[in-house]
């Protein structure tokens, strides 16, 4: 019955013509016009900016690789890497503590996150920097007991250590919540399976849970890293010579404020662009089990993959 119907509905003659494999997409003139209009606006704006003398492009070029600027760039990058690494490590510990069944660990972790997420980073940095006015000496001692070792606060808390402590502790609070969210996103059955196979909690976390959590941890961490690069500019208030501080120190001398800020802006954009590319690679790595097709698929067209496969034989 349905068979006869199907035959009646499609006479055998147009079966080949109706094969969707031979279909082509009609040319979209509207889209082309839109591209041209937007392109013209963008190019025109770029032309205006490039020819505007107030931007001082020659000055930008002159100071782009200035030793002071490059030195500031190193400080910004170094601070970002160290603070981020410490922040992620401490954040992981805090996330695991927060999720543990031990009330002491989860309470301490919750308080840490509450405090460091709840106060402005700028204020935290200033507190770290001025630690010596609060605690002139730092000591290791038994509570209510004898002192074991003692240091002058100013010798321990330099602008560098104040900046690292401030940025890393603040970052740890945010990373703790990002990592906790990632760990929660992993199917409960995975932890249970690892447990049933006699893995210790540490091993289950490291081998089974974290690799799967990474898929949801990496994108917001990329966000945090980019925020961190810009947040390092806050350390200029505690006299750390980061990228922003160095261009400020130059324009305080030359009064070329806009060109010098452009130097900083371009550097910040360059760094974040590189990080975006890196993030893409990391995301692809951690989604390796998600692809349905085997081996040779990395967004490449099937035909291209087949050719590559033949070539490798």
């Amino acid at each position: 019955m349905s068979n006869e119907h199907a035959i009646a509905a499609s006479p055998s003659g147009d079966a080949a013509a109706r094969d969707v494999a031979s279909a082509h997409t009609p040319f979209r003139y509207g889209q082309l016009i839109l591209w041209i209009v937007v392109g013209a606006v963008v190019v025109n704006f770029a032309w205006i900016v490039a020819n505007n003398e107030n931007f001082g492009w020659p000055v930008v070029g002159q100071y782009f690789f200035d030793p002071t600027v490059v030195q500031g760039l190193y400080v910004s990058l170094g601070l970002t890497v160290i603070a981020m690494a410490l922040g992620i490590a401490l954040g992981l510990v805090l996330a695991v503590a927060r999720m543990s069944s031990d009330p002491l660990a989860s309470t301490l972790s919750a308080w840490f996150v509450w405090f460091f997420r709840g106060t402005p980073l700028l204020v935290q940095l200033i507190f770290w920097y001025n630690m010596s006015t609060l605690f002139p000496t730092l000591s290791i001692a038994i509570p209510f007991g004898p002192t074991l070792a003692s240091w002058d606060t100013n010798s321990v808390i330099t602008p560098m250590t104040a900046a690292i402590a401030g940025l890393a502790l603040n970052e740890a609070a945010y990373m703790a919540e990002i990592i906790r969210g990632g760990l929660l996103s992993v199917d409960r059955g995975q932890a249970e399976t690892a447990e049933a196979f006699g893995m210790t909690r540490m091993r289950a976390l490291w081998r089974i849970i974290i690799p799967q959590a990474m898929r949801s941890i990496v994108p917001p961490t990329g966000n945090q890293l980019i925020s961190m690069i810009k947040a390092t500019s806050l350390v200029s208030v505690i006299a750390m010579a980061d990228l922003l501080y160095s261009v400020q120190s130059i324009y305080n001398r030359t009064f070329e404020i806009i060109p010098m800020l452009l130097v900083a802006v371009i550097w910040y954009l360059l760094i974040t662009s590189i990080l975006n590319v890196g993030q893409g690679y990391i995301e692809r790595y951690y989604s390796r089990g998600e692809r349905r097709t085997g081996g040779a698929a990395q967004g490449a067209k099937p035909a291209a993959a087949a050719v590559a496969g033949e070539a490798s034989h």
Partner: protein
């Protein structure tokens, strides 16, 4: 496989009680499983059969009673006449001799089939990588999936995933295998391949406790069928007795739906 007589039971459960919040799921379970025995636990949903299985390897802690596996009490140890809770790591050690297969397969999605199988032998049991890989290849051949060594779980059908999960559990050379409704998440046409694999294992003298709804598997492969209802074992015995001539009205009512 007939159970060896005169030896100690591999699993000895005594008066096992378990409640979730106020819901009593197990109300005094007694069960001995001899080495080499295949025990199939049947029962309606909510009868407590899966919970009991998960209590055997201490995935769930029991509220009263005791469970011994291979002469060790799961989760506890006697110290000077007092029963002391074991640490998480000590419980992990106890679980090393028990393999488990889950309803939802629970393969590690970020690892290939081979990595899934060698993870516990290498990481938990300290087997050398080379020997674990050799063993994994043999196990995959046994479950008929030699060509899937480097596939990721998501690239496999449900039946294939469950067979990999069985190979993974066998890779730790378990003294006891627990199957928690291994075919319940599968399409009907994929159930057969998993049951065939399990039937092979049952014929090879492996001690198995299987929670399932597959009456046919129970009839063919079980040494003993246990019927649970409302947190109790209401009937237990040889498959032809329990399935062919059930004595308890609950068993009769349950089985009548499969005839």
């Amino acid at each position: 496989m007939t159970a060896a007589t005169g030896t100690e039971p591999l699993v000895r459960a005594r008066n096992v009680h378990k409640a979730f919040e106020r819901l009593e799921v197990l109300k005094g379970i007694d069960l001995d499983v001899m080495p080499g025995e295949v025990v199939v636990i049947l029962g309606p949903s909510g009868s407590g059969k899966s919970t009991f299985l998960r209590c055997i390897n201490h995935l769930e802690a029991i509220d009263a009673g005791s469970i011994m596996v291979g002469g060790e009490q799961m989760g506890y140890r006697l110290k000077n006449g007092h029963l002391v809770k074991l640490s998480a790591n000590a419980i992990a050690l106890q679980r090393r001799k028990i393999g488990m297969v889950f309803q939802q397969f629970n393969l590690y999605p970020h690892m290939t089939v081979l990595q899934n199988i060698i993870e516990a032998p290498v990481g938990v049991h300290g087997e050398s990588r080379a020997s674990a890989v050799d063993n994994a290849k043999q196990l995959l051949a046994r479950v008929g999936l030699s060509d899937k060594l480097n596939s990721y779980p998501r690239q496999l059908s449900g039946g294939q995933q469950q067979r990999v999960a069985i190979a993974r559990a066998l890779a730790i050379r378990p003294e006891l295998m627990l199957f928690d409704e291994p075919t319940s998440a599968l399409d009907p046409e994929l159930v057969g391949e998993v049951l065939n694999t399990m039937r092979d294992l049952a014929g090879q003298g492996l001690t198995m406790i299987v929670v399932t709804h597959e009456i046919g598997f129970a009839r063919e492969a079980a040494d003993r069928v246990v019927f649970m209802d409302g947190g109790h074992i209401v009937e237990a015995g040889r498959p032809d007795e329990v399935l062919g001539n059930p004595q308890h009205p609950r068993t009769q009512a349950f089985l009548s739906r499969f005839l």
